[in-house]
Amino acid sequence: MIKRIFIFMMLALMAVVFFNLATNYTENTELSKLGHYYADNGPRELGAPNLVTAVVVTYRGLDTLGEVTVLFISAAGVGLLLRRTRRKEDDEDLEQGDREEETAGVHKPASEIVETATELLLPMVILFGIYVFLNGHLSPGGGFQGGAIIASGTMFLLLALPESHISRLMIAVIESLSGFSYVIVGVLGVVLAGGFLDNRIMDLGAYGTLFSAGAIPLIYVFVGLKVGFELSAVLDRFRKEDTGPL
């Protein structure tokens, strides 16, 4: 009871703080200094019409590398926690019956409509993901969004055809290679241009076209592949634990 009152008091205090924040809020009428600099110089310096991309990939590129690392660590953590090595005595508990039932339910084959729709739609979903991360410097989108769309394609595949096999080796190889290439591109920035992850290692190209903005599309391809396959691996892990043979 004391605990409940304490929780209620804490939430009430938070509400008071938030209420003050909201009532004293005034909308900005102009950009902050940093935002002003990015909006002013971003398109000219980096050749990227999408300012958020310019900030994420180049101005704050090191943070994005850290972000990709955090995502990698969490994917590795999920892989470690949901790994499939199970000792015999764990299986002898009461859940055994439930699990067999569950597995039997999942292994019911999908209907022909679902199968055909999957075959038809899956390439389009993947293609859309690739489109989103290739155009990340021109339009709303980018590596993370495109990667998430590719992972949603994997989700779709796992839901529609639960028995489909995803090669873990392929995921590991593509993920490591793209992560490695991302860092290599960053280091090339130090050697050839102004600093780590500088996108001007390549010709900036014609402004507003697909192959422009220097290394930004290249970096976003690597980020997109890495995020897409990482999230696919996470989804695959969550499935395997439930339906895979023990």
């Binding site: 924040l21 900005n28 940093l34 909006a39 019409p49 958020v52 994917a75 949901l82």
Partner: protein, 126 residues
């Protein structure tokens, strides 16, 4: 129109975000089911993203993408702050990673204990 002047869109987003933070905190503190606590975390996370985006809003601003509607020379006066947007982009991905790890812990605990109730997991080892 006058209503929009009294309650600009960013204030609405800010208030919704703050309410979501409170709901999420309430969920995390009062619920005993681990999945519900994770949902509470996700709500708080989303609320914080909304607060950050609303703070980056500039009156009358549009998405920070230079195109026909936003000429490069005039971009400074036409776009919202790209920095909070970039920060939220990062935060969403990190939040997703954290949620995935929490869910896999929940799966592990369920496998080991057969329950998702946090009250029944008092031993430190098992």
């Amino acid at each position: 129109m006058s209503l929009l002047a009294d309650f600009p869109i960013s204030l609405i987003v800010l208030c919704s975000g703050l309410v979501l933070v409170l709901v999420g905190l309430w969920g995390m503190l009062t619920q005993r089911n681990m999945i519900r606590m994770i949902i509470g975390f996700s709500l708080t996370d989303t609320g914080i993203h909304m607060v950050m985006v609303s703070i980056g809003y500039v009156t009358g601003g549009t998405a920070p993408i230079i195109n026909d509607a936003v000429p490069m020379a005039d971009a400074v006066n036409r776009v919202v702050d790209p920095v909070p947007s970039a920060l939220v982009l990062t935060a969403i991905v990190i939040g997703l990673g954290v949620t995935a790890v929490m869910l896999s812990f929940a799966v592990r605990i369920y496998k080991a204990r057969g329950t998702l109730m946090i009250d029944e997991c008092t031993e430190s080892k098992g």
